[in-house]
């Protein structure tokens, strides 16, 4: 599903050169639940961004679902993010002026799905996360846990095979965190590939396998 081969990422800021990733190679199979762990500055966010096609590696090969990502254009990458990957962020990243309904609708609008399909899918998702009655509310009216559940629903809108979660419980109290983890586990059991960044061991224990990063390299 996800194959990284010798991925390097170098940031240049003025005269400073920062090597965020130094030759990361890993394979994540279809239906796996993986945690990426590591201290701050170990490159786990950079790795996550590259896996999520939000950023491109300086060197190395990335094959996602059989396609080489390196040669894709800006809009092709956008299409990959839209259809194959669902994102869940630590700070939810919902559009503040849009209702929960509209937030979930957005990826489907970008994909050009018709109104009927969108309506059906949004209702499904809102029911699945138990927030159907909150469909006309704005994110600011929701609790953190509720916001993250909406973000999860949005991530699943186009039914992507891969779910990327960057510290999904980082901004939540433990109970809301447990709820989110329960949903993620369910999704994994339903066959979705899940890649999660965390530095919480308890959260990481939900996953099958843990990849530890240190100084931009995978530790075995």
């Amino acid at each position: 599903m996800i194959e990284l081969q010798g991925i390097t990422k170098v940031y240049k800021t003025g005269s400073q050169i920062l090597e965020a990733l130094r030759g990361v190679s890993l394979k994540i199979g279809r239906g796996e639940f993986i945690s990426i762990m590591g201290p701050s500055g170990s490159g786990k966010s950079t790795l996550m961004n590259i896996i999520g096609c939000l950023d491109t590696p300086t060197a190395g090969e990335y094959v996602l679902d059989g396609d080489r990502v390196a040669g894709l254009s800006f809009d092709q990458l956008a299409a990959v993010r839209n259809r194959k990957i669902g994102f869940v962020f630590q700070n939810f990243n919902l559009l503040p002026y849009a209702t929960t309904w509209e937030n979930i609708e957005l990826p489907m609008l970008f994909d050009g799905k018709n109104a009927h399909k969108r309506k059906k899918r949004i209702s499904e998702l809102l029911n699945a996360v138990g927030l159907y009655d909150w469909r006309d509310h704005r994110p600011s009216e929701l609790s953190g846990g509720q916001q993250q559940r909406i973000a999860l629903a949005r991530a699943l809108a186009n039914d992507p095979p891969i779910l990327l979660a960057d510290e999904p419980t980082g901004n939540l109290d433990s109970r809301s965190g447990e709820e989110i983890m329960a949903i993620l586990t369910e999704l994994w059991k339903a066959g979705r590939t899940i890649v999660m960044v965390t530095h919480n061991d308890r959260i990481a224990s939900y996953s099958q396998r843990i990849i530890r990063l240190l100084d931009g390299m995978v530790q075995d």
Binding site: F74, F87, L106, P107, F110
Partner: protein, 379 residues
């Protein structure tokens, strides 16, 4: 801009308070010897000159004689001295003599039959009758009673000869002759068919009256003319100048507005950076981001246009509600009647629209090219 246009229009109005496209002819004194006659002969105008000129100059649209004298007028137990005029019905059209509701100016019948009727200025009406309606009342001039048939409606008038029309009394020409039996008349009013013909008419009046009265048609002093058409041209030039000046101010305002809009669009792009990042992350294509930006720009522009129209239109019309003192008007008569021009507004908006479009496209493109990660981190 509205003020500039308004001033120009008010100037026209004020000027037409005297009369529109009007040539006034006065008698004079010859300054050149002619056909053996010495210089210094007085030249007078007579009632028959009116028909004489009208028959011979086809460019004349209207012509009217006018005689006047300062006379005692009494009515309602009051006595005042005012300039009393004798003229014909056509005078009304040339000299903007609009009657107040319920009255009328002298008509052709009044003049032909020498009816004892009078048309009076609004100040005369006020002086003699207070706030009451004088129409139908009698006024006595030189012991002859005249019935008031109309009162002049208030107007602004910046040019005059015997004082403002508000203070005048007009009688049918032949009725006037009964209280002032001088044969010569004070002046003749001529309105050309087209304003451009005014100089030509002047020349032909000189030639024709010169032939009749035996003076040199080139004699500048045998007759004198007051050509309001030429005066108006000068006045209009001045007001055009002011209009252009205000136009420049308007253009500068426009520039400031454009800078404001550009800034706003730029700020919007910054403000929306995170939002753009989110949208890019969940798969928005570049085109979608740019489109959104354009719609926003369009919305800001439409809103601005709408409110701009409402505000400008209302300011102009509220100012226009301000009363003008017709009895002694000053600069306010020009300033308090700004004109809202849809054309200027449309032109303004078209220019602003182009600027808004340009100022919208660059931030939009920049925003759409930004890296989703950096946009997402933006707080």
């Amino acid at each position: 801009m509205a003020f500039g246009q308004g001033m120009t229009i008010q100037f026209k109005v004020a000027f037409s308070g005297l009369g529109e496209t009007l040539i006034m002819v006065y008698g004079g004194q010859t300054s050149l010897p002619f056909e053996g006659l010495p210089k210094g002969r007085p030249i007078s105008l007579y009632p028959e000159d009116v028909d004489y000129l009208k028959e011979r100059i086809p460019e004349i649209l209207r012509i009217a004689p006018e005689s006047y004298n300062y006379l005692q007028v009494s009515a309602n137990g009051k006595e005042i001295n005012r300039t009393v005029h004798g003229t014909t019905a056509e005078f009304a059209l040339m000299r903007t003599q609009v009657p107040r509701l319920g009255g009328r100016f002298l008509n052709a019948d009044d003049v032909a039959k020498g009816r004892k009727v009078a048309f009076i200025g609004w100040k005369v009406a006020g002086d003699l009758f207070g706030s009451g309606d004088p129409v139908g009342s009698q006024i006595i001039i030189n012991r002859i009673p005249f019935t008031v048939i109309g009162v002049l409606q208030k107007k602004i008038q910046d040019s005059m000869y015997q004082g403002p029309d508000a203070d005048q009394i007009y009688l049918p020409f032949y009725a006037y002759r009964q209280i002032d039996n001088r044969r010569r008349i004070n002046q003749v009013h001529i309105q050309p068919r087209e304003a451009a013909q005014s100089k030509l008419i002047e020349a032909r009046v000189r030639t024709l009256l010169g032939r009749k009265n035996r003076f040199d048609p080139d004699d500048r002093y045998a007759l004198s003319f007051w050509n309001t058409i030429e005066d108006a041209k000068e006045g209009m030039a001045i007001f055009k100048g002011i209009e252009i000046f205000l136009g420049i101010i308007g253009a500068l305002t426009l520039l400031i507005g454009a800078v404001g809009v550009t800034n706003l669009m730029y700020a919007l792009a910054k403000e929306r950076t995170k939002e753009i990042g989110i949208k890019l992350a969940i798969g928005a294509r570049r085109r979608v981001i740019v489109q959104q930006f354009f719609l926003e720009t369009l919305f800001v522009f439409a809103k601005g246009t709408f409110w701009g129209f409402i505000v400008a239109f209302n300011i102009v019309h509220i100012i226009r509600l301000a009363p003008i003192n017709y009895d002694s008007f000053g600069i306010e008569a020009y300033l308090l009647r700004p004109e809202f021009s849809l054309q200027i507004f449309a032109a303004y908006m078209a220019i602003l629209g182009v600027l808004v479009f340009l100022s919208g496209i660059f931030p939009a493109l920049r925003a759409s090219r930004s890296n989703p990660i950096e946009s997402l981190r933006y707080e």
